[in-house]
């Protein structure tokens, strides 16, 4: 219960997100962890907790970053848009609510590996 499971499930249930990424072992390349397996060469999505969790609140409040990886700038934007539309102001299982911010695209030359990254900052609120 840290928002990652719910976010991944929500993304896997969205057809436009699933169609925008490549497949890995017959499943969409959407990973609920910070790194993508090295065998994945195409478009992929990874995610991680990027903000400390405040246990003093009466509700769950998690800050996640969803990284959208693609070798081309335009494709990277497309994945980011699909992720944003799938999550922003959406609910999951009746107790989870998502809010999103689209970050600027990080160029391939900056992060290395020849891949563009378009992060989406996700705020997950959970009762």
């Amino acid at each position: 219960m840290n928002g990652l499971t719910e976010t991944k499930a929500k993304l896997l249930a969205d057809p436009s997100v699933v169609s925008s990424v490549s497949t890995y072992k017959t499943k969409p390349a959407i990973f609920g962890k910070p790194v993508v397996p090295e065998k994945v060469s195409g478009n992929a999505i990874s995610m991680y907790l990027s903000v400390p969790v405040d246990g003093g609140l009466e509700y769950g409040n998690f800050g996640l970053t969803v990284n959208c990886w693609a070798s081309k700038y335009d494709k990277c934007i497309d994945i980011q848009e699909a992720v944003y539309n799938a999550l922003n102001r959406q609910t999951y299982a009746g107790n989870t609510f998502f809010l999103c911010i689209k970050s600027v695209v990080i160029p391939s030359t900056t992060v290395g590996g020849g891949e563009y990254n378009a992060p989406v900052e996700v705020l997950v609120r959970q009762r």
Partner: protein
């Protein structure tokens, strides 16, 4: 009972200055706290990333940067590398903070096959959360000081 001094304000303080001063104080306090939170969170190999974490305010106040070039070392030589200062145009009500090491972005957001080690965003969350009262106090103090700078005249002198 001792006679007390009586001070009368003949005109109000310049509120545009009070406003600007409080914003500057808030910005400076936010940046100072952010830097002190971000540096310990930054992953350390040779310490380049932590050394390059810094801030600059619109009024020219700077802090955080550990620049070894001051010690007579050459730029770009291992852990004695010196780093660029943040150099972006700012208005007096703005401030900028961040890291200028080359690997600052990959460490914050990760790469496709390397896990991220965020330091900037957690530090922002801590500064906005647990440390917000310190920022509010700094702004409050500056507002009070600014208001007291109005033209005042002492009418009665205490003993």
């Amino acid at each position: 009972m001792a006679e007390q001094s009586k001070v009368v304000f003949e005109s109000l303080a310049d509120f545009s200055k009070v406003s600007l001063g409080s914003v500057e104080a808030g910005n400076l306090k936010f940046c100072e706290i952010w830097v002190t939170q971000a540096k310990p969170l930054a992953p350390v190999d040779e310490g380049q990333l932590a050394n390059s974490i810094q801030f600059v305010t619109g009024t020219g106040k700077k802090g955080g940067l550990n620049d070894n070039s001051q010690n007579g070392r050459k730029k770009g030589s291992g852990n004695s590398e010196s780093f660029d200062e943040i150099n972006i145009p700012l208005t007096k009500k703005e401030a900028a903070f961040g890291a200028t090491a080359k690997h600052a972005v990959p460490q914050e957001f990760g790469t496709k096959f390397m896990a991220p080690q965020p330091y900037a965003r957690p530090a922002i969350a801590i500064t906005k959360g647990a440390k917000i009262t310190e920022i509010i106090k700094a702004i409050d103090r500056e507002v009070k000081n600014g208001i007291l700078k109005g033209n005042k005249k002492r009418e009665t002198f205490g003993l």
